[in-house]
Symmetry: C2
């Protein structure tokens, strides 16, 4: 009974996600759904991304959070349009939330939309929002066992950013082992080692993102 | 419609949680439901706890994970009875899972049962499993904004362990601000600064836990 309901919810979500995807395709907007644990550094990665890309592409951000607008305030400082979705306790964004929110953006002028999901390494991976691709940010402070413990999010994502690598000397994190595990879960997946505080890997990530945006626009 | 279903699920969960609680009361077992983000250090805290307490009280652990038994293997090395629950993608433990699992433990001999929940700062806080109290482990590497961004888990928990405080010098984490936020969310809540690698705060946590166990036994 409960499983049946869950299937209905997911089916309905997929239907709306497909509608969102059609809208974003019509408008030539590349959409990435950025996921990760609380404190993995999603917003910090976004801040670095805006510094690099906001003069090259027209970008906007949709911020998913349980209650506050703390992250949206950080984005707004960079002069990029941002909309805050508060899920009021809900553990992930869903396609309907994006459908209600996206029309508030000037989609005709937009090249890149980043959807920063609720901090959660589990549920967001199950709910498409109409994105082109998903990305996962994993802080190395979370431990190198996390890919195998949370496989779905790595299977679903096109790219993994291993963030806070400047802290590797102070943590028991085996980069090689984690990257091998990610490659086992999702062979050929793009993995970039990133440190926002040391500006490491940010260019590689932005180059990857820019290629996707240009490809969507047929350039 | 969806909200109605959710209420039914939560109502059913509360009913089973109450049954579990009655069983644990009859057996004089103190049960703590330990929650936190992926990689907050729940298992590391447990390893330190077992070192301190396993000769003082009869303890057992129920491990919640999506798929693997990595954490249960870490517990087993300490010679403490452990049962692994794999939720097969489910983002939290629920009362029914504990009801099915608990009879496999020798409850008559048990003083302390630690339920380590799935790594997730959102959903586990909504589902009681029959515990006496909840505890939350927050790694300081997650950022000092997390209590206000994930308030329910702090409101629901009797104790917060701020873990990995040895990394404070390398992170932008304001301990005072985080502790004030926690006190705003849950006035008077017990907060302990912990470092498992430096053995800091572990004694204070174990003393707190031991007092709870003894109180449950009426000693």
């Amino acid at each position: 009974m409960e499983i049946k309901v869950m299937k209905n919810i997911l089916g309905e979500n997929d239907r709306i996600a497909a509608e969102n995807q059609a809208l974003f395709k019509e408008k030539n907007v590349y959409v990435i759904n950025l996921m990760g644990s609380p404190g993995a550094g999603k917003t910090s990665v976004l801040e670095k991304t805006m510094e690099r890309l906001k003069d090259k592409v027209n970008m906007a951000v949709i911020e998913g959070d349980l209650f506050t607008s703390k992250d949206a305030e950080r984005i707004e400082k960079h002069g990029v349009p941002v909309i805050q979705i508060n899920t009021a306790g809900g553990c992930h964004l869903d396609a309907a939330m994006i459908q209600q929110t996206a029309p508030q953006l000037d989609l005709d002028k937009l090249d890149l939309l980043v959807v920063e999901n609720v901090g959660n390494l589990v549920c967001p991976a199950e709910f498409a929002v109409g994105e082109d691709e998903k990305g996962v940010v994993l802080s190395i402070t979370e431990g190198d066992d996390k890919p195998m413990k949370y496989p779905l999010i790595f299977k679903e994502s096109a790219i993994a950013l291993l963030n806070k690598v400047d802290l590797v000397p102070f943590c028991n994190f085996d980069l090689k082992s984690a990257e091998e595990d990610i490659d086992t879960l999702h062979p050929g997946m793009k993995v970039i080692e990133v440190s926002c505080t040391k500006d490491q890997g940010v260019d590689a990530w932005c180059d990857w993102l820019l290629l996707r945006v240009r490809a969507k626009q047929g350039k």
